[in-house]
Symmetry: C2
Subunit: 254 residues, 2 copies
């Protein structure tokens, strides 16, 4: 049986969940400097997240998007208001507005810890996977899900590109790296490179078979996409749907 | 900031979630001997759990209940059928049928790892908390929830007893022990002894104030209790509600 890499003593890690969109958010921190980052926060839970960060005595440096989500509005806009001094982050290729843009090969630092940016397009052009090599963990967004993967039938979806992203930039990580996706709908919280290389029902196929599977999923049009994309193009800072404008008016005031 | 104790290199840990009842289940294993235990499985997800255990190459020794749940049917009955050789476990004080009964001070072993049983009644008489001292983790069932606690207004609920259980047997653990409850409804996955000692809105009060709070919650009658208790009295092995009998007939045949 494969052994996980142990987290460093000064590395704090906390996974969080949104029951509505089944999104996972990840709070990472340096326990010595208290500098923290939050991956894929959800707007409806930004207050929960800010409270936890406060309770733990952490200082949020970056709130980070793995990509421009289509199923929920990111919490990165509200969080930079709730926790002044923090910055929103997204990839340059996403073409979304943010305080900081990242591209393949960039390194994000928080305290003494580092996170590498890997461009893993296919679900969207701007999808990235974030890798903390020393901790043996990676955040795969919607590129690779547990025993699944992100859709390739909207935004800039492309199954061939997604297949290559997973095989070249995620499956090439060590087998015992733990992978944390942006979503899971079955109550499973994490997986490993080895598990997905052995058991992923789609990505263990040949590229041709994979493309065939992805092109024949016949999924419904994403319910939240028309509300989520305009807001996520600005990292949830404005362009909220009308029913949310009022709620966040005081927080997001210019 | 408090530092978590690091998990031993040969200790495997995986948290799982049931979106319907918001129940957390916990898979623990010795990575060398492959012996595993599963805390608080849910019947509807027993097949998911058995598949994960199989994928990981683990051998389930015990499927364990923290108490006789009132909100869902335990998966321990189905799991002992799906994974022959495994045994169901619950406390003697719960008065439920199981392969193995535990009481305060007992030690459950899996591979080279140990888990201590602490009697923590108050939500029910049979509630226990399981503690893995070497790993700095404890499974608190419904006794202590994240910034909350289990109800004390049905079954054998008693707020004074619950208050003493938490203060004497959970808050007495080291501050940096991570606590994993049976449920959370806000997408938070774990907490620590220190966090709950500082921020639990109920259990930071005096015992008198706590009793007053608990006696005035005016909660609705639990929706699933009349279906869950008869089945959970036999660890989910039979006495299933009629609509589930058919589904599990072939698995649970005598």
């Amino acid at each position: 049986m494969i052994k996980h890499i142990r987290l460093s003593e000064n590395f704090f890690f906390k996974q969080l969940f949104d029951r509505v969109s089944c999104t996972y958010s990840y709070l990472l921190a340096d326990t010595e400097t208290k500098e923290a980052i939050l991956v894929d926060p959800v707007i409806d839970l930004a207050e929960r997240d800010a409270k936890i960060i406060g309770n733990l005595g952490l200082k949020l440096k970056y709130s980070i998007n793995t990509h421009m989500h289509a199923d929920h509005i990111t919490g990165t806009g509200v969080l930079k208001k709730l926790l002044p001094g923090s910055q929103s982050v997204i990839s340059t290729a996403s073409q979304a507005l943010a305080d900081k843009h990242v591209a393949h090969g960039d390194i994000l630092e928080f305290g003494n810890h580092k996170m590498e940016v890997r461009s893993t397009p296919g679900h969207t052009n701007g999808c990235v996977t974030y890798v903390c090599h020393e901790q043996g963990i990676a955040f795969t967004g919607d590129t690779l899900l547990i025993r699944g993967c992100g859709r390739t039938d909207f935004q800039e979806g492309n199954p061939e590109i997604l297949y290559d992203s997973v095989h070249n930039h995620i499956f090439s990580l060590p087998d015992n790296f733990r992978l944390f996706p942006a979503h899971d709908y079955n109550g499973i919280l994490d997986t490993t490179v080895l598990e997905e290389k052995k058991f992923n029902p789609r990505l263990t196929k040949t590229k041709e078979e994979f493309v065939e599977i992805m092109n024949n999923l016949n999924l419904a049009y994403p319910a939240q996409i028309d509300k989520a994309l305009p807001a996520n193009k600005v990292c949830g800072l404005y362009n909220l749907p009308p029913e949310m404008e009022e709620k966040y008016k005081s927080v997001l005031k210019p």
